[in-house]
Amino acid sequence: MKELLDLFLTFARIGGLTFGGGYAMLPMLQKEVVEQRGWVTEDELMDYYAIGQCTPGIIAVNTATFVGQRRRGALGGIVATLGVVFPSLIIITIIAAFISNFAELALVKNAFAGIRVCVCVLVFNAILKLLKKSVVDKPTLALYAAVALLAVCTDLSPIWFVLASGLAGVLIQSRKGGVSK
């Protein structure tokens, strides 16, 4: 019970500190879930992001469910996910009920322009950590560069990148003899 409460509160904090989409959650997850609590490893987190981007639903929820279930099974997955959506429910309901021009307020506009700069830097730092674990040789460097470039320049769905790179992983490893070992 204590562990479930801890899961809920941790993910509520992460949800409340996520400014943007699921990728903005990454620095919080690395800090709270990998470094401070050791609930999952950096590798696992990366796998969850990869899968979360090509399975239905929004990435933030998919990742929360993954980490929660890794920790405490199906119930853990549900509790972590409810935690991550909890701050949104409270904050948005209050804004929707009382503040009609919220996004137009000067204070909000300026604060968020500052926050967005910070999210850039935090996500950039998070990416550097991921690169150390994911780009381990020339083929993975090529895969990384190709996906980053194509994802910036085209409107292709992430599904195709994930399917193609998974297949590429199997092909590369089998040429190296890694699959038959």
Partner: protein, 192 residues
């Protein structure tokens, strides 16, 4: 029964939208067209607010649309509808992963998936850089230098340095977010 319909519509969005919060947007337009619960203009406002409040954008949008349609119960039901397919699918995938995590094909697939996943996050980060550090619309009038948002770039440089300094780099990311919010307000980053 509007609550049942809300749950159903958002369940559908959660089941078929792939790739993050903004991927739910086309589904929200469909809901608007099909039900008339809210207009496209209202939806645009809701997206703006969802982007400037804490919490993942997709969740913020479902809560907002739900609240507009059915009050507080509507907000809860729409959000639960959106996350239910994720929970079911991910629990199944996680079970599968646990069973096959030592399988050599699965391992080889993840060898390729990890750099791709990092690449997708890099692309997301790039679009954030374009929005917050650059002003591409200024290119036609002011040339190359006008494209750079100097105030934002300076803050980014300071943050890059701070997040690498001895004790500071172990601070919780929230500390840097709070600092940036204050800097944004004091130096009018949003131009407002």
């Amino acid at each position: 029964m509007i609550y049942l319909q809300l749950f159903y519509e958002f369940f559908k969005a959660g089941l078929f939208a792939v790739g993050g919060g903004l991927a739910t947007l086309p589904f929200l337009y469909d809901i608007s067209d099909a039900t008339g619960w809210f207009t496209h203009a209202q939806l645009a406002d809701m997206v703006a607010i969802s982007e400037s409040t804490p919490g993942p954008i997709g969740i913020n949008m479902s809560t907002y649309v739900g609240y507009t349609t059915g009050g507080i119960p509507g907000a809860v039901i729409a959000t639960l509808g959106l996350i239910t397919p994720s929970i079911i699918v991910i629990l199944i995938v996680a079970g599968f992963l646990r069973a096959f995590k030592d399988n050599r094909y699965v391992k080889a697939a993840f060898y390729g998936l990890r750099p791709a996943s990092t690449g997708l996050i890099t692309a997301a980060c790039w679009s954030l850089v374009v929005i917050s550090l650059l002003r591409l619309d200024a290119f036609s009038s002011g040339g190359l230098l006008a494209v750079l948002n100097w105030k934002a770039l300076l803050l980014a440089a300071v943050l890059l340095a701070l997040t690498r300094i001895g004790k500071l780099k172990n601070l919780h990311p929230a500390a840097f977010l709070a600092l940036s919010a204050v800097v944004g307000v004091v130096f009018r980053f949003g131009g407002a």
